[in-house]
Symmetry: C2
Subunit: 590 residues, 2 copies
């Protein structure tokens, strides 16, 4: 038996319970409002919060679950410094490349440092010093550590703070195959972690950037208020984020032209929606024009040439910038064209642009959907005029490029061919990512392989937003009275509410006995011994969101019962006092 492992006496009178009737006006989202009102966090500065006792209990439970599953998956915990020397960040170029969200500081000797937003550089530096041989691989190092990102506009409390806690893990492997195995081990560990949190979530395929392949997944907690759109197929296990989800080529062929091309006056109608309304046609008959530019740099980094691109999307579709950024010719960066460039190439200002009869040559990229349209409507490159009945081949050449450049919409066919797509909203709280050799090559981090030759590590990185998770949990689980925590991450699992603790000896005795019994059984229980009126007491615990409540009152005790109520229950259930402890324990999910 380890000393110190006895349960800690938890009485509301000695703990710090500080609920608020109102949240400050600048708290825009429900999780922010409820965490402030429940006394879980306290603002110190924009995006910088103290984790108050009640909130820290939640964070610690999140940490513990993450730590246990990372350990179980064979990852090894260490702690890298918060203040990191700029030299390492210069090796990868991130010191210069990252924007002001990277907080740069100088020490007393005017040496440059950063406050870590992540630790790729430091962990790669450790690996190149410590992992000399293939025999030491694979290795996965993780930390649960404070991070700082100097957001331009921190908001939503812990959802988008500047100072936050993240679990970041980094795997090191001999080869891509090993790295993919390490990636899968982490992806599985993440599923166990999110299962244990007791939240509804989806692991969705995410864009893996320049590396390609499918080795990037986001773990999204489902919430109507989420910032991210999640695409999934209800009849299969397909799930991806909006950036990633592919819009399949339309099934049918392009219909034959049925209408002549006609220049139609559309005075003051500069958007597809306005034009469709004026002409009385569905929005899906219109085509929107988006003009991009790419610059070729000369020897002295001056702009040597600029190419103008015309992207065509159906009027009811949105451009997907990630997909656009992967088109041949656009992979190295693009920008929206300036108005001067547009006028120069189209002879017209934005609002009435189209691919027919441009003044100068532009590269035309048609979305897959647009490429099979007939008799469509687009701008006439003349202010206040559109063209109707436009047809590929007849009125203009076939597009230079046909590609998937739009966001999918609900009802689109699922890329796996097993149904149609639905969209819901989520909050990203985890990400697993195959990095390849991006950092190891930049930092010359190699090991000696079996053949005696140095090779760069194949890496992966794996993050969980420890302090963001409670906020996401609340966005998913709350009602008008407050938070509803899943058992696993509740600040307390059970609260005992005696009515008249300060007046009735019978109530006090029964409550104390029940409390001692649950505490002794290892249940995370708090006894509200403050002697507050029932209304105030219940409102506090409903706001704080403790999932299980036992109410002890004189009235019930006369009949030998106490009342059990789950935070989601509409009404209490009477339970015999003698069975109350085991009754509650049977209802706990942890």
């Amino acid at each position: 038996m380890q000393r110190g492992s006895e349960p800690v006496d938890m009485r509301a009178s000695r703990y710090h319970i500080a609920t608020l009737k109102e949240a400050p006006a600048d708290a825009e989202v429900v999780s922010h409002r409820l965490m402030l009102r429940a006394g879980m966090i306290k603002k110190l500065s924009a995006g910088i919060y103290t984790y108050m006792p009640m909130g820290l209990r939640v964070i610690r439970k999140v940490e513990r679950i993450v730590r246990e599953e990372m350990d179980r998956a064979g990852a090894i915990e260490l702690t890298m410094p918060i203040v990191q020397p700029a030299e390492l960040w210069q090796e990868t170029g991130r010191f210069a490349k990252m924007g002001p969200e990277l907080l740069r500081i100088k020490d007393r000797h005017e040496r440059d440092f950063v406050i870590q937003p992540t630790s790729e550089e430091v962990v790669t530096d450790i690996a190149r010093q410590e992992l000399k041989s293939y025999k030491q691989l694979p290795k996965n190092f993780y930390q649960i550590q404070t991070k700082f990102r100097d957001e331009r506009r921190p908001r939503f409390g812990l959802m988008r703070g500047r100072e936050f806690i993240m679990k970041d893990a980094y795997s090191f492997d001999r080869d891509a195959e090993g790295a993919k195995r390490s990636y899968q081990i982490m992806a599985q560990a993440y599923r166990r972690i999110f299962d244990r949190f007791g939240l509804r979530y989806r692991a969705v395929a995410a864009d893996s950037g320049a590396i390609g392949g499918d080795l990037s997944e986001e773990f999204q907690v489902i919430a109507a208020t989420g910032e991210d759109a999640i695409v999934y197929c209800p009849t299969s296990d397909y799930a991806a984020n909006l950036e990633k989800a592919e819009a399949l080529p339309p099934a049918g062929p392009r219909p034959a032209p049925a209408q002549p091309m006609v220049k139609t006056p559309t005075p003051g109608r500069s958007t597809c929606a306005q034009v469709a309304e004026l002409l009385g046609v569905p929005l899906a008959r219109t085509v929107k024009s988006i003009v991009l530019a790419t610059d070729e740099l000369g020897e002295r980094d001056e702009i040597a040439a600029t190419r103008i691109w015309l992207l065509l999307l159906r009027g009811d579709h949105d451009m997907n910038e990630v997909k656009v950024g992967k088109l041949p010719g656009l992979e190295r960066g693009w920008r929206f064209a300036t108005e001067a460039e547009i006028v120069e190439h189209f002879g017209c200002r934005p609002g009435y642009l189209g691919p027919v009869g441009t003044r100068k040559a532009v590269t035309v990229v048609a979305d897959r959907e647009v490429a099979v349209m007939a008799d469509w409507i687009c701008g006439a490159n003349e202010a206040d005029f559109h063209l109707t009945g436009v047809n590929w081949g007849r009125d203009l050449p076939e597009p230079d490029l046909v590609a998937d450049i739009r966001n999918v919409v609900a009802g689109d066919p699922s890329p796996d061919g097993k149904g149609v797509l639905a969209i819901e909203r989520g909050i990203e709280v985890g990400h697993v990512f195959y990095l390849g050799t991006k950092y190891s090559r930049a930092m010359n981090a190699t090991f000696l392989d079996e053949d005696g030759k140095p090779k760069p590590f194949e890496m992966g990185c794996y993050g969980i937003g420890i302090t963001r998770l409670p906020a996401a949990a609340i966005e998913q689980n709350h009602d008008e009275r407050g938070i509803i925590w899943p058992d696993a991450i509740a600040p307390f699992t059970v609260v005992i509410c005696p009515i008249g603790y300060d007046r009735s000896e019978a109530v006090r005795d029964a409550a104390e006995r029940l409390y001692a019994e649950l505490l002794g059984a290892g249940v995370d229980v708090i006894l509200d011994d403050r002697g507050e009126r029932p209304g105030v007491m219940f409102a506090d615990w409903e706001l704080i969101g403790v999932p299980h409540r036992l109410t002890v009152g004189d009235k019930g005790l006369k009949e030998g019962v106490v009342e059990y109520q789950h935070r989601r229950d509409g009404a209490p259930t009477p339970v015999p006092l003698a069975e109350a402890a085991s009754w509650v324990r049977a209802r706990l999910q942890v």
Copy 2:
């Protein structure tokens, strides 16, 4: 049963064990060298270390003990931000007053922030917002959090780093009496904490600065290499640090003069030791002169007047600056006099100074010991000359002030009158301190007392150097082979060393069974399955300092035994294989 509470499989082959034969040359102290060699820490920048897996395990055990005892003592954990806005630090004046060890930074909006070295300002800000009524008191908030102090000369590894982890607690009370109670609760909790660490330590009275009283104690881990001198009485429970320990007034009266005062040539002898040697007398017969100055400032902060002080100490005694700083007239700050000031007042350069016949008036402060001396020796205020046979009253006036201004030495009487003092060395790893209303008044942090009037909080602060403690433990517990951890904070409590794990099935089977048995019993055990040669394997674990080792070899197995060896044992003890697990468990102290 909680999910995830199963023990984690710990095999050396999958863990990260990275011992070094040699430590870098800049590692000056044994704990720094051994932590680097054992792979517990890794330097990232001066005074900034990664806590490597093996070291982090120790730190986590230290944290857990501290957290359990703080919780048990009723302190409430929260986490305050690392990046703190300057405004709060300006309220107490510390933003301007603290030197460059306070790391100041600007965010993207050019607003001033600091990286917390401690959190008095933030916690007092929380208290003034959250603790409105005397009914909410007492409260004690603590955190275990990363701190930063931009030391000019960081060194000794975790002993004096720039980034480090500290447990800092802050108590809030209605009145001084309550604050003293909170202080005592913390002092007791600290004793439990340090008892559990399994280290030899002393709680010593420390100077409490301007507040007075005895409400400041340091917790010192005893180590010959410690920076601090600890004064204690072997026959009583008196213990204090050197700054604080009082030198009692000498018991006997001043003897009558026996010698005439004589001006004696002491060419080139400018120190007491040289003079005593030349004259063939004990050093204790000489008196050293130390000249201080205090400046009185005028209305525009210009120096309006300067007063010169002559401090007289026995030649074999050292000045105690803390005691000097409390003398009337010196409490508001003093400095050593410049050579010009000395020449102006004494007519002589340093080396031959004394209180007899100064050129200008100086305030003479005699140490208690000097005040009862007769026939003493001091400088003649003339180069190359000293006076012998000097006597108070006869040769010069009685001193303006007699006071305790020296460090005690071994053999001095104990201030509690119960024996004589001894001195040993220690490393400060904890401090409990009664703050009074210093911060609450500066920040106008008040609560409404029972009488309806606002009163400032009475505060205390309580620190433990979480990352310094492992270093102190090593300074106390090591030998030529490496570290010797106490059970409570060892990275692993037990290591199983199979000889020929990769060759012998019998060894592998026995080792695996023993491992599974200990793991199942909740013992913190690691199995060295690397298949290293015994010499390498033993050297690794002796360097790392795991206290209990079980060696499994073919030779022993033939007789049904394995070998147990404590890290301090000179030789192994054979133990029957079947009893080995319970045999080890009986020897564990945790």
